[in-house]
Amino acid sequence: MSPLLDVKDLRVTFETEDGVVHAVDGISYSVDTGRTLGIVGESGSGKSVSSLTTLGLTRTEGAKVSGEILFDGNDLVAMSDDELRSIRGNQIAMIFQDPLSSLHPFYKVGWQLVEAIRAHRSVSGKAAHSRAVELLDLVGIPDANRRANQYPHEFSGGMRQRAMIAMALANEPKVLIADEPTTALDVTVQAQILALLDDLQQRLGMAIIIITHDLGVVAETADEIAVIYAGRIVEHGSTAQIFKSPQHPYTWGLLTSIPRLDIQRDEELVPIAGRPPSLIHRPAGCFFNPRCPYARDEMRRIDPRLEPVAGESDHQVACLLEPEVRTRIWKGLQEGQSPASLRTLASPLRTQASAPAAQGANEVSE
């Protein structure tokens, strides 16, 4: 059986005055009922664009979309605006980063929920209102009846995000996309919101996609993780695989730049040097090569494909480093060695000795 939401080779570009922005460049992922997918990447990596495209929300911005987004077997990319609108907020719902700016400041929270319900169901205003109160109660807002008659600015940050979640759940969606749901919140509130999402998933059984820049957010909640860089998935695997045996230098960078309490470390955190590349003028070869401490000459020419990791099922990586080199570098990083000191492991001399790594990869014509 095909998965509930199946994204295949999705590409999204925007024409701008400076050139064509390749926001999403051929990514594929899927998520099934009751499962959670984490999409992790820096800001500007295209992670939000891919989910906004799922709902057709990039259409108004003049995006060019290709590929397929199959939902229950129907392609959302090919759907008319009206067809897509009947799915949006109904079968696929979304919550956003900043709950204050995402709720309309002029309307009462209850009114906004009622609107969400009545957008897809012909129920009386009264019935919709009691459903709204019920939803606010479901997401753990105390005194929901009174709260429904308040404006968003009268809610605290965490309560607003709960209200957003309640609104997203209004029509019992099959898929919930959460775009940075905890980024704007206090750490303690973050944990509450994540626990709430987890709890709601168990009760309502929907599929969840969590988009975040913070691996810590998906560590507990996601079943699998896709690491996205410059509009492409560079590593994809189960949460355990991503945390235990990460394969991509970018994933290593993300992992070693998070402070962890469970590991005794004398070394300082290792930030990823440099900035994400421009999505208009992308680097030749591997998109990560300008920031990669282990980049070799051929990686500036050859564009790696996402390929299965030997010996691990459903774990894929797009990297030209040899598997054993990757294993040794990650081991070194875990022991607290610096990327600079591990550089030699990836030296060109070794490459010539080992098997050709560029097998199956595209040579970039310049």
């Binding site: 609108r85 907020g89 109904n90 956003f96 995402s102 400041p105 957003m164 609104m167």
Partner: protein, 320 residues
Amino acid sequence: MTTYILRRVLWGIVLLFLVCLLTFILFNVLPSADPAQLRAGRNASPAIIAHIRHELGLDKSVLEQFWVYITNIFLHFNFGYSFYSGQSVISLIGDRLPATLSLTVGAVILWLLLGIPIGIISAVRRRTFVDRTAMGSALFFVSMPIYWLGLIVLFLFASDIGKFPILPGANSYVGITTDAGKWFTSLLLPWFVLAATQAAIYSRLLRGSLIETMSEDYIRTARAKGLPERRVVWKHGVRAAVTPVITVLALDIGALLGGAVLTETVFDIPGIGRLNYDAIIHSDFPVVQGTVLLAAMFIIVANIVVDIAYAYLDPRVRYS
């Protein structure tokens, strides 16, 4: 909220007092023709002029004149009598107010009917042919001074001198109670002239505001709910974008009620603006003072109305 309004009203009265003081000082400090002499007419004997000066109270000290004036206004609601015609200022203003009111109300309705839809369409269809055409013509109308546009329009359409006299009575104002049909046709041209520039300003203002609003996160939320685009634009976009327009509208209405001097003069409409203009020409201090005070009062009231409207429009604003 009530205390807030009360405080604002008190401040308004203080402001009105200051306006009185300022106009009085300006009138007395700046050189102007002698009102007594003006009223006495040509070849009047010095005795008659002195007599008139005494009657108008102009022989008293400046301070005394001001005191009489201010106590009359604030205690007896008496704005004095015209130096020129001898009529009470209140009755003069009362006579002229309907014309100004007619001009204002019609023009406001017209420019809102033009400006708001154009602004919304331009914002929603940004960078399309429709938008560029609308904004281009807006720029065209904004750039034209009212008195110039007024004269051009009269030259083209006035019933007597016009090249295409299609509007009967276009430049001779008739009161609404006298003849409603003639009142309407006589005001059509001034309404359009006044509305043309204003509609242009309003459409640009609303367009800018709506474009900004439509990029807000809550608009994305509204779309993500699966609402029809029309509802997203009207219920979520325009509702928020219209706030600055309402602010400007209240102030514009306030200013217009104080007298559209240029439009009233060009189209010969006997309104407050025209009254003010004539009073200045004749050094008719009580009338100048009266019209200026009236204009100031309208502006002050408009400001208070804006503040109250804000609290109702935007629930985040609550005065305490």
